[in-house]
C-alpha cells in the first residue's frame, strides 16, 4: 500500500508516524519565507540608505543574517518552523522524529549552497522529487526531514444515541472504523450512509436507516457512553 508516512518504532515499541512533506508544500513555504525576507530587507534598506557606506555595510550584514542565520534560528528556537513553514503547517525534525538541534539545522542550511546550485534550486527540486521522503541533499546529509505538523482534519462529534452493545468482539481497527463512521456520517449523504451501513448487515442484522442508527449506537457504546 502506497503512503507518504515514515513509521519509526521507538525502543519502547511505540510507532511514530511522520507524514513527510513533499516538494510542492515545501516550495510554497520557501516562497513565503522568501517574500518575508525580501520585505524585511527592503524595509530596512530605506533608513540604511541614508548612512552611505556604513549603511551599505549594515545592509550586507542584514542580508547575511537573513540568508544564513534566519533559518537556523527559526528552526532551533521556533520548534523547527520558519515563519513560512509555520504558515504552511510544516516542521523540520530529525529523521528519528526528535526535534531538530543546532548541528543538523546548521548542516542542512549550509548545504543550501549545494541545493541551490544552478542558481534556482534545481538540484534541490530534483532531489526532493526523487527521494521517497522528499528530502533535499541538505536534509539527507544532516539526517533531517520536513513533515506535516498540523493534525488531520478531525471528524465531528459522534451524535449521541442510546448505546447498543456489540454482539461480537471486534478488532481495534474495526472499532476505529465504526467510530470513524459515526464521526463522519454527518458529512455524508443519507444514501451513502445507508449504503455503508448495509455493508455491515451481518453485524447489525438490519438495513438502511435502522442499520445506520444501530452502527452509531455501537459507536456510542464503544465510546463508553450510556
Amino acid at each position: 500500500m502506497l503512503d507518504t508516512v515514515r513509521e519509526i518504532e521507538t525502543p519502547e515499541g511505540i510507532a511514530l508516524r511522520l507524514r513527510a512533506a513533499g516538494a510542492l508544500p515545501r516550495a510554497q513555504a520557501w516562497m513565503v519565507d522568501m517574500l518575508l525576507r525580501m520585505g524585511v530587507f527592503i524595509m530596512a534598506m530605506i533608513p540604511l540608505s541614508l548612512f552611505g557606506m556604513g549603511g551599505n555595510g549594515l545592509a550586507m550584514l542584514l542580508l547575511f543574517a537573513l540568508t544564513w542565520v534566519y533559518s537556523v534560528v527559526c528552526e532551533v528556537w521556533l520548534g523547527g518552523q520558519t515563519l513560512g513553514k509555520r504558515a504552511l503547517g510544516l516542521r523540520v525534525v530529525n529523521a528519528d522524529g526528535t526535534p531538530v538541534t543546532w548541528l543538523p539545522s546548521v548542516v542542512r542550511n549550509l548545504l543550501r549552497a549545494v541545493d541551490v546550485l544552478p542558481g534556482v534550486y534545481g538540484v534541490g527540486l530534483v532531489s526532493t522529487l526523487i527521494d521517497p521522503y522528499a528530502r533535499r541533499l541538505g536534509d539527507i546529509v544532516a539526517g533531517t526531514m520536513v513533515i506535516h505538523a498540523v493534525e488531520l482534519p478531525a471528524g465531528q462529534q459522534v451524535p449521541t444515541f442510546a448505546a447498543v452493545p456489540l454482539p461480537v468482539v471486534l478488532a481495534a481497527d474495526e472499532q476505529a472504523a465504526l467510530v470513524e463512521f459515526a464521526e463522519r456520517s454527518a458529512q455524508l449523504t443519507p444514501q451513502r450512509q445507508e449504503e455503508l451501513a448495509n455493508l455491515l448487515t451481518p453485524l447489525t442484522g438490519r438495513n438502511d436507516t435502522a442499520a445506520v442508527r444501530q452502527l452509531i449506537g455501537h459507536a456510542n457504546w464503544l465510546l463508553g457512553r450510556p
Partner: protein, 507 residues
C-alpha cells in the same frame, strides 16, 4: 470500480498532504507513466518542431507543445488510475486505452478552457466519471468546493517547477562553458550568437522546455488525481467503506464457524439424551481421572476437528501472523557455572574463614542490637513523672498551688533554699508575695493571673516601696523560672525579710 483493489492508503488527508500522495504514486509507477508519455509525446514533439521549421516559424514548436498539454495529460492519468485500482498498464495498452475516453472534454480543455487553473482536478472528474453534461456542472461544484485554492496553487507550483528545471538546464550549461568561449555579456549573447542561429537556439529551447515539461506534467496530473481521490474519500468515506468490507468478510466467515459450532452444540445433547433412558441404573461413580475423561477430546471426534479447523481459518485464531519483537543482537554468553578450583585445600580454608567471619558478623550484629535495645529500653515508654528526688512530702505540699501557704513563709522558703531547692523556694516566695498583694489591694483570688498581671497590679499599690518589692520578687521569680538565673544568698535574704513575707512589716 472495485474499491477493494485500491493500492494506496486511503484516509482523510489535508489537501496539501494529498499532493504528496500524488508524488508518491508517480514515483511508484514511474516506468509505466514515462514510457507511455515519451511513446506518445516524442513523435508529437518532433512533428511540431518540424512543422515550425517548415513554416519558417521556429517558435511554433515551443508554443504548440505547451498548447497540447491537456492532450498529453490523458496518458499519466490513464496509467495512474489503472495502477491505483488494478495494475500499471504497459505503454501499448495506455495508447490503445485512450479510445475508451471521450475526446469532448479534451477538446474543451484545448480550446476555451486552456487557461484554466483547475485542470488537474477537472481531468479525473471528466475522464473517469464520464457523467452526462447536466450532472457534470453540479458534480463539479461539489467536488471543487473546499479544494479549489489548492488546485490553483498546484497549477502555479508546477509552472514554477517547470521554469526552475528549464532555467537550471541553461544555467548548468552556462556553468560548464569555459570562460573564454562565453559572450562578453548577455546583451552580446542575444544580439550576435542567438540572432545568427536563431532556429538552432529556438529548437534547443523547445527541447529543454519539452524535457522540463516531461518531468513536471505527470507530477501535475498525479497530484490532481490524488486531490480527486482525497476529495472523494472525504465525500464518500472510501476508507470506511474499505474497512467495513473487510469487517463484513470476516464476520461472514465467523458466522459460518458459529453455525457449525451451534449445530455441534445441538447435536451433542440430543445424542446423549437418546442414550440416557437405556441406562436406567445409576452411573458408577468415577473414581479416577482416567474414568472421568474416558475419551481425550481430540481423538477421533470428527465434528470437533471440523469445527476446530473452521475456527482456525479465522485470521484471529490461526493463520500466519507477523509479529515484531526485540531480540538481543548479540546473545550474552552464559558464564560457566562450576569452574574448577585451582587449589582445593586453600579454597576450603578460605571458605571456612569466611564462614567463621560471617558467623562472627552475625553475632556482633545481634549483640549490637541487644545493647541498643537495653540502652534505649526506657526511652520508648511513655515518660514517667519527674523524679521527686529528696523533696520532702511536706515541702512539696507547700509548693503545690492549691495547698495553703505555710504559716512561717520565710522559714519554709529559707529551708527550701538551703536544701538546694532554689526553684521551689522562689516559687513559694512568689506565691506568698502574690497572696499578700492581693490581700493588700483587696482583689479576689484569681488563678489565671500571670506575672505580667502582678507587675501591673504593683503599680496600684499606694506605697511605692512595697510596690518596688513586689516588682523585685516577681522579676526574681521570672528570671529563675524562665531563664534559670537565681539570685545569690544575700539577695534571697533581702527578699525574705520585710513585707510581703512578714505580713505585718513595713517595706
Amino acid at each position: 470500480m472495485e474499491l477493494e483493489r485500491i493500492s494506496v492508503v486511503l484516509r482523510p488527508r489535508a489537501p496539501r498532504e494529498a499532493l504528496d500522495l500524488g508524488a508518491a504514486m508517480l514515483r511508484a509507477n514511474a516506468v509505466a507513466v514515462w514510457s507511455a508519455w515519451f511513446a506518445f509525446t516524442l513523435p508529437v514533439f518532433v512533428l511540431c518542431n518540424a512543422l515550425g521549421v517548415l513554416l519558417g516559424l521556429p517558435w511554433l514548436g515551443l508554443v504548440l507543445m505547451w498548447w497540447l498539454k491537456p492532450l498529453f495529460d490523458r496518458l499519466p492519468l490513464y496509467v495512474l488510475s489503472r495502477a491505483v485500482f488494478d495494475r500499471p498498464p504497459s505503454w501499448c495498452e495506455t495508447l490503445r486505452g485512450q479510445r475508451q475516453w471521450s475526446w469532448r472534454s479534451t477538446l474543451a480543455a484545448l480550446s476555451w478552457l486552456r487557461i484554466d487553473s483547475n485542470r488537474a482536478l477537472r481531468l479525473p472528474m471528466e475522464l473517469l466519471e464520464g457523467a452526462p453534461r447536466k450532472l457534470r456542472s453540479a458534480r463539479w461544484k461539489v467536488l471543487r468546493r473546499r479544494i479549489v485554492a489548492d488546485t490553483s496553487l498546484l497549477t502555479y507550483g508546477c509552472l514554477q517547477f517547470e521554469l526552475v528545471l528549464f532555467l537550471s538546464a541553461w544555467l548548468l550549461g552556462a556553468m560548464l562553458i569555459p570562460h573564454e568561449w562565453r559572450a562578453d555579456s548577455f546583451g552580446d549573447f542575444f544580439r550576435h550568437d542567438v540572432r545568427d542561429a536563431s532556429t538552432t537556439w529556438m529548437l534547443l529551447a523547445a527541447a529543454v522546455a519539452y524535457l522540463a515539461m516531461s518531468a513536471i506534467e505527470p507530477l501535475y496530473v498525479a497530484c490532481g488525481f490524488a486531490l480527486y481521490l482525497n476529495r472523494r474519500t472525504q465525500l464518500e468515506a472510501w476508507d470506511i467503506d474499505l474497512a467495513f468490507r473487510r469487517m463484513r468478510t470476516r464476520l461472514q466467515a465467523l458466522g459460518k464457524v458459529l453455525g457449525v459450532l451451534l449445530v455441534c452444540a445441538c447435536v451433542w445433547p440430543l445424542s446423549s439424551h437418546a442414550a440416557t433412558p437405556a441406562q436406567a441404573s445409576p452411573k458408577p461413580v468415577a473414581t479416577s481421572l482416567q474414568q472421568v475423561f474416558q475419551q481425550p477430546a481430540d481423538s477421533g471426534d470428527q465434528r470437533f476437528a471440523t469445527a476446530a479447523t473452521e475456527t482456525y481459518r479465522d485470521p484471529r485464531f490461526g493463520g500466519e501472523h507477523t509479529t515484531h519483537e526485540w531480540v538481543f543482537k548479540y546473545t550474552p554468553k552464559p558464564t560457566p557455572n562450576a569452574q574448577p578450583i585451582p587449589f582445593p585445600a586453600f579454597g576450603n580454608a578460605l571458605a571456612i574463614i569466611f564462614k567463621a567471619l560471617m558467623w562472627l558478623l552475625l553475632i556482633v550484629a545481634i549483640a549490637a542490637l541487644l545493647r541498643f535495645a537495653w540502652r534505649w529500653r526506657g526511652r520508648l515508654m511513655p515518660m514517667p513523672a519527674e523524679p521527686t528526688s529528696a523533696l520532702s512530702q511536706s515541702m512539696r505540699a507547700s509548693v503545690v498551688v492549691d495547698a495553703p501557704l505555710p504559716a512561717d513563709l520565710a522559714g519554709a522558703a529559707r529551708a527550701l533554699w538551703q536544701a538546694q531547692h532554689q526553684r521551689e523556694a522562689l516559687a513559694l516566695l512568689y506565691r506568698g508575695c502574690v497572696e499578700q498583694t492581693a490581700r493588700l489591694l483587696k482583689l479576689p483570688p484569681s488563678v489565671d493571673a500571670t506575672e505580667a498581671d502582678w507587675l501591673r497590679q504593683a503599680a496600684a499599690i499606694d506605697d511605692p516601696a512595697r510596690a518596688q518589692r513586689v516588682i523585685a520578687i516577681v522579676r526574681t521569680w521570672q528570671f529563675a523560672a524562665y531563664a534559670g538565673r537565681y539570685p545569690d544568698d544575700a539577695g534571697i535574704e533581702q527578699l525574705l525579710s520585710g513585707w510581703p513575707v512578714e505580713a505585718g512589716a513595713s517595706a
